[in-house]
């Protein structure tokens, strides 16, 4: 078998994603879990780049890796307590959770591998940044100004709500 560079890259990204996502949920230390998640997010961004969605990859890196994970790390540091380390990871839901996850995963993989897909219409090339901009700011069909504004309002509300909840009470 001969691997192209692209395939090698995908294999690497896939391996990173699979390994680190599993480690994220199995590690005992919460800070490590956050770090592993960061790796997963980086790899996901890599997959977006590979799919030629550079904008999406950039957004992923900026918001997820740059914003959210930092937020997580901060909150982990703020809320760490000794009990976290002492508490056993295993509990009565571990087995059932494991069974459900594995059965679900196996079933999905089985379906994925046996399913007949429609013909692929892969189009090479980067999505035009102009097109993305117009689609996001337009008001016509397949244009997304309204959701964009809604999300911005939602974010504003979240900022206010977060402040309100987390502020110190007198």
């Amino acid at each position: 078998m001969e691997f192209t560079l692209e395939q090698a890259g995908f294999a690497f990204l896939a391996a990173v994603i699979v390994i680190f996502s599993i480690m994220t949920v199995t590690t005992k230390r919460i800070l490590r879990a956050a770090t592993y998640l960061l790796f997963v997010l980086f790899a996901t961004a890599g997959i977006y780049f590979q799919l030629n969605y550079s904008f999406l990859g950039a957004v992923q890196l900026l918001i997820y890796a740059g914003g959210i994970i930092v937020l997580y790390v901060f909150s982990i540091l703020l809320t760490s307590s000794d009990e976290d380390k002492k508490a056993p990871l295993r509990n009565r839901r571990t087995l059932s959770g494991l069974i459900v996850s594995i059965v679900g995963a196996v079933m999905c993989i089985y379906l994925l591998l046996t399913h007949c897909y429609p013909p692929v219409l892969f189009a090479e090339g980067e999505v035009d940044m102009h097109a993305i901009g117009y689609a996001m700011m337009g008001t016509g069909k397949y244009q997304y100004l309204l959701p964009f504004e809604a999300v911005s309002v939602l974010l504003l509300a979240c900022i206010i709500g977060g402040l309100l909840i987390a502020r110190k009470r007198k």
Binding site: T4, S21, T24, L37, I47, T79, E83, S101, A105
Partner: protein
């Protein structure tokens, strides 16, 4: 294009069920949130992949992913605010301690 679509989907499936497993078994609130991020990411990958492979001329999947990321960010911000508040009251963030409203 050498890489088949189902390989991406395989990766996202594993990621998704890892998130499910984490969500069900972890007891630290932040760990649960991390699991949710995993699940969301798996979904985002699927959107992007389907868009790229099945409807390459359109951008619905792309935008759905973008908005999903934005909402995930918002959700995270609020959730972390709540968690910090819980920590302030209970001095830990174990799920099993959050049963004041139960009885």
């Amino acid at each position: 294009m050498e890489i088949q679509m189902q390989y991406y989907l395989l990766v996202s499936t594993v990621m998704f069920f890892a998130g499910v497993y984490g969500f069900v078994t972890r007891r630290n609130l932040i760990a649960i949130l991390l699991s949710i991020e995993l699940i969301l990411n798996a979904v985002n990958i699927n959107f992007a992949v389907f868009n790229r492979y099945l409807f390459p001329g359109q951008m619905e999947g792309l935008f759905f992913s973008i908005f999903s990321i934005a909402i995930a960010a918002a959700e995270t911000a609020v959730a972390i605010a709540i968690i910090v508040n819980i920590y302030r009251n209970l001095k830990n963030i174990e799920v099993k301690n959050l049963d004041e409203l139960k009885d």
